[in-house]
């Protein structure tokens, strides 16, 4: 019991945080929101997988990847290929010149299913592919870079280039990938209609359970000896290397794990939204996902989930209320977070929230509020002067 408490939940404080988040996701949101909004939250939570993977990779590992969209996209595409094949049975595609292949292939004059699409007829292969394809890809990238001690900004730039290359590849090979349109009009999963209302509820909860699964996995990794090594590596890489550890192997491992976590998010995204397109693979979404992690707090597995939800809710609500101005509001939000709360939401909580909780306990709110105001004032004042 103690083991579970310490290793998966992160001690008493961590357990409270997880309990609050779980209550929010499993109880409050489904009760308060209608199905449309809940489905949106489900979509946002698939991005949270990527944010969690960035906590491991960037927050603790110190390796900033600006190409997590690649893995999100690979996972999503694997799932989309399976669903598309199921949606393209000869009966429903009989108006095509070649019935039985996905519609976009027919438009691009393909007359047979390409070989690499064939295995995606099998659901178990697809699940394996969702997990393994991005992982293997990450291992190849990681091996060729970390072994050569490419790191820091250079690594970030290279991951960005990879995101761009993959987008261009997908857009260019539209006969095989659906091109810029993506893979659309997905209907059923093993005969189960994923567009039904009941399916949306079920997928939301499956997604939430998986998200907690990867949070626990993240906790487990971070509380292990390996987690401490990651931190040490981030702060003084050379010292760890001189102590006899092979730093590059650790980096490859954490990169591969983060790729796999992102890919699960991608696959769940495809299931809930009903299509996949190259606009989730490229540079912009990859950077957006880093922003989710930054807003939530890159050192906090729980904080990033809130960060993802906050940014995406902001995006949706701002763009619904001010369709012409919303991008400026989002920009303002990001600047404010980076300037005043460099550790994100989790940082605000660490610094002021806990004090507030303690003082509520002691009924001495006054001093805590004063310290909050004072610290805000110095920060804003400092920003003005600089």
């Amino acid at each position: 019991m103690n083991f579970v408490m310490e290793r998966f939940l992160g001690g008493k404080n961590g357990a409270i945080g997880i309990a609050i988040l779980a209550a929010l996701i499993f109880l409050v949101l489904p009760l308060v929101l209608d199905l449309f909004r809940l489905n949106l939250v489900g979509k946002y939570l698939t991005y949270a997988f990527v944010a969690v993977s960035l906590v491991l990779l960037w927050g603790y590992g110190g390796v900033l990847s600006l190409g997590q969209g690649v893995f999100f996209g690979l996972g999503g595409y694997c799932m989309a290929m399976f669903l598309k094949l199921e949606a393209s049975d000869p009966e429903s595609t009989k108006i095509q010149s070649t019935p039985g292949i996905p519609d976009f292939m027919d438009w691009n004059q393909l007359t047979a299913l390409p070989w690499f699409w064939e295995p995606f007829h099998s659901f178990s292969f697809t699940v394996l592919a969702v997990l393994l394809v991005p992982m293997i890809f990450a291992i190849i990238i990681g091996y060729s870079m970390f072994k050569r001690r490419v790191g820091g900004v250079y690594f970030a730039i290279i991951t960005q280039a990879i995101a761009l290359i993959l987008t261009v590849l997908i857009v260019g090979q539209q006969g095989y990938t659906g091109g810029i349109n993506g893979i659309t009009d997905l209907r059923t999963l093993n005969g189960w209609d994923i567009r039904e209302d009941s399916a949306k509820y079920i997928l939301y909860f499956v997604n939430a359970v998986l998200l907690f699964g990867v949070i626990f996995l993240g906790r487990y990794i971070l509380t292990s000896k390996f987690g401490r090594l990651l931190l040490a590596m981030r702060d003084k890489e050379d010292r760890v290397r001189f102590s006899g550890y092979d730093v590059s192997n650790f980096k490859i491992f954490i990169f591969a794990v983060s790729a796999m976590i992102s890919a699960i998010g991608g696959a769940m995204f495809t299931l809930q939204v009903g299509f996949m397109s190259p606009s989730f693979v490229g540079i912009v979404p990859s950077i957006e996902m880093v922003i989710f992690a930054a807003v939530g707090g890159r050192m906090s597995l729980i904080g990033v989930v809130y960060g993802t939800l906050l940014v995406n809710f902001g995006k949706t609500i701002f763009s619904e209320t001010f369709p012409e101005l919303w991008l400026f509001l989002m920009g303002g939000l990001f600047i404010a977070v980076v300037l005043y709360f460099p550790n994100g939401l989790a940082g605000i909580w660490e610094k002021h929230g806990k004090k507030l909780v303690n003082c509520i306990k002691r009924m001495q709110c006054y001093s805590a509020t004063k310290s909050l105001i004072a610290s805000m004032r110095t920060k804003f004042g400092a920003a003005k002067q600089s």
Partner: protein, 410 residues
């Protein structure tokens, strides 16, 4: 075709007669029948959605469409609305991002319960939103000329499908210019590829001409040097182009720099409207031809009134391209269908749109009529670009039947 007109007029006459004779009896019943599917319709308002990109790379193209839809809705409201109800607009931003189009479509249909949506521009955004419209049984008026190969119950296509736009233009260039050899170039996505496939079949099988080159460049590409060299080498009679978006600026500037002008060769493009010319510059296009259904310079009173009203609402400097005009038709076609159906319910509006021969007699582009396959009968025009960014129409076809699934061209 003539019999169809007679038929539809007869139907209208019957409808009017029925309305007069039964109006007194079914007055109450028909008021309830206006909205039986829980749409956002009150006694004096009806809500519709406008869904275009206001931000991102597509904003520059989609602005015109969005402005035209607002103009049409304002004019309809000034005339008293539809079935006595004023139209209220709920605008959403697709943000040049296909998944966002799907999300906002769902919001408009599920949360706002709008009676119709006017929106989408790229094929990709339509493909993303389409499953939502089919699932939630919404109604989308889609304004862009596009590749065809689609016919959804829930979409009315107010732009031209590929065969309407392509075949007439090719026939013209073969006849007028005696063209035998063609060089095809386009951006690399579904619309140019499908269009070129149709063009190649028509050139080879019908016109007896020859395609001497076919090339696709990625979206956003700005390097056309290699293509231009090949064109100079092969000397085709016609350069047939479907380059889209920002690439057009580089494409036409580099053509001019390479000395390829309208005097030596015929260049016929499928993708340049007045909106693009703003970016490309009239001097780079002078002497080249565009083929589509509408040009701002069309000389008829309806178009003149439309251009005047558009400029009054959106500024003297605004220009009107093909898609803008097609978007303007959307609300009017919807109004005609709703009034004939006597109801906002999507199923009824669609049924009337398919069967009743909905027509607009005084559209800016001229007479148009809705085909049962959800596309418009329309004319195709070829026009030559002038230095001032306007085009002179040199050829106008008869009304062309829309044929989104062309036999022999797939």
């Amino acid at each position: 075709m003539k019999s169809k007109f007679v038929h539809s007029n007869w139907r209208k006459l019957m409808g009017a007669a029925l309305g007069v004779s039964l109006g007194a009896n079914i007055g109450i019943a028909s008021a309830a029948g206006v909205n039986e599917t829980g749409l956002a319709v009150t006694d004096d308002t009806v809500k519709v959605g406008i869904l275009h990109s206001l931000t991102g790379t597509m904003a520059i193209s989609e602005t015109g469409a969005q402005e035209a839809e607002k103009l049409a809705i304002k004019q309809i409201n000034d005339m008293g609305g539809i079935l006595g109800r004023k139209i209220e607009i709920i605008q959403e931003d697709g943000a040049s991002d296909w998944p966002t189009f799907a999300e906002k479509s769902r919001k408009l249909l599920v949360k706002d319960k709008v009676a119709a949506v006017f929106g989408c521009w790229t094929s990709a955004s339509r493909k993303a939103a389409l499953p939502v419209f089919e699932k939630e049984n919404g109604l989308l008026y889609y304004p862009t000329f596009y590749e065809g190969l689609e016919q959804s119950k829930n979409v009315i296509y107010t732009g031209q499908e590929a065969t309407q736009q392509i075949l007439a233009g090719l026939d013209w260039v073969a006849k007028e210019k005696g063209a035998k050899t063609f060089y095809l170039i386009g951006s690399d996505y579904i619309w140019p590829r499908t269009s070129m496939k149709i063009a190649r079949k028509h050139i080879e099988n019908v016109l007896g001409g020859k395609v001497v080159g076919e090339e696709y460049k990625p979206l956003g590409n700005t390097q056309f040097g290699s293509v231009i060299n090949k064109i100079r080498l092969k000397k085709p009679d016609v350069i047939y182009a479907a380059v889209v978006g920002g690439s057009n600026v580089a494409w036409f500037k580099q053509l001019k720099a390479a000395g390829i002008t309208g005097k030596k060769q015929t260049l016929l493009t499928l993708s340049v409207t007045e909106d693009e010319v703003l970016g490309i510059g009239g001097e780079n296009l002078e002497g080249f031809y565009s083929v589509m259904k509408y040009f701002q310079s069309l000389d008829n009173p309806n178009n003149k009134a439309f251009v005047k009203a558009f400029k009054e609402m959106h500024g003297e400097d605004s220009v009107i391209g093909d898609v803008t005009q097609a978007a303007y038709l959307g609300p009017w076609l919807w109004k005609a269908a709703v009034e004939q159906a006597g109801s906002f319910d999507v199923d009824k509006v669609v049924k009337v749109s398919e069967t009743a021969g909905i027509e607009l007699k005084d559209a800016p582009e001229g007479y148009v009529k809705l085909h049962p396959n959800h596309h418009l009968w329309s004319k195709t025009r070829v026009a030559k670009w002038n230095k001032d960014g306007q085009a002179t129409v040199v050829f106008e076809s008869d009304l062309i039947e829309p044929n989104p699934f062309p036999e022999g061209y797939q």
